[in-house]
Symmetry: C2
Subunit: 144 residues, 2 copies
DNA sequence: GTTTCTATTGTAAATGAAATTCATTTCTGC
DNA sequence: GCAGAAATGAATTTCATTTACAATAGAAAC
């Protein structure tokens, strides 16, 4: 299996764009952990490691990472988008508490079938899905 | 079946809050159409009907509409959230083109079962779900 | 109906994520 | 090396959303 960096290099070459040390640094940091991330948090993580990367460089890279299928928007919370890896990581869905924001991850294999059915029916090239179930966690549902 | 306004009045009374003509006007406008909406578009719709409602009033109402189960976040696009009705309207999911933003709505009954399973397994009070399938539409997939 | 308490309103200002500008730097192909 | 194009960081701008605040107006108690 190719590494994320290899996938990105290939993608960037195909698009006639250029790879740079900054981009490699950002991608390395994103895939160093298995967790979700957001721009600000990623920026601070890079900063704390003395990597001088500007926020615009991160913002400019994200559309390419999305397009290359390495990451995906996970959810919008606290006023900004959160992303998750989709290459080389088992896809998962989110059960989220509308009150406290608690997130439980779960798998749902059936959705892959739904993807395929939609791809055929609407002639889409399907890249993935986002499935969020919303409600109130055990603690919060008691107070509502 | 109760109207949306009635549901809201009940909700507001239970919370010990106050109903106002402004809130009734906003709710009326939201449920006058069956479509998704976003704050800005709703604000302009009210304005064009000579209803003097400020944007903060809309922003302040939305958390209550979410909490009362009348609406739900549909998707984040073009830098802001879009909402959809969930009370008294058939739930639907979205197939979205990552390139041009085209949206196709579809139904998927099975997800209700997933909701129930999760509610039991994690002891959540499940209020709904968001299922988005992402990819490239027939037109866009040709250029990628 | 009047009073009192406090939630809600609109206006204006503040916040903060994301995008953009621009001068400078750095790839990449020739 | 050179030329042209793309990427960078710093600073600025944009724009959705939130907040502050003074004025208004529901709603419950009297």
């Amino acid at each position: 299996m190719k590494s994320e960096i290899e996938i990105f290099r290939e993608f960037i070459r195909k698009k006639g764009l250029r790879n740079t040390p900054e981009r490699e640094t950002i991608i390395e940091e994103i895939f160093a952990s298995h967790d979700h991330f957001d721009v600000d948090e990623l920026y601070l993580r890079l900063k704390s490691k003395k990597k001088k990367i500007s926020k615009p460089s991160i913002y400019r890279l994200i559309p390419y990472l999305l397009e290359s299928g390495l990451i995906q928007e996970a959810y919008f919370e606290d006023g900004h988008l959160h992303y998750e890896h989709i290459y080389g990581h088992e896809h998962h869905c989110h059960l989220r508490c509308l009150n406290c924001g608690k997130i439980i991850e779960f798998e749902e294999k059936y959705l892959k079938k739904v993807e395929n059915r939609l791809a055929e029916k609407y002639d889409f090239l399907v890249k993935g899905h986002k499935f969020e179930v919303l409600g109130y966690c055990p603690k919060c549902k008691a107070h509502i």
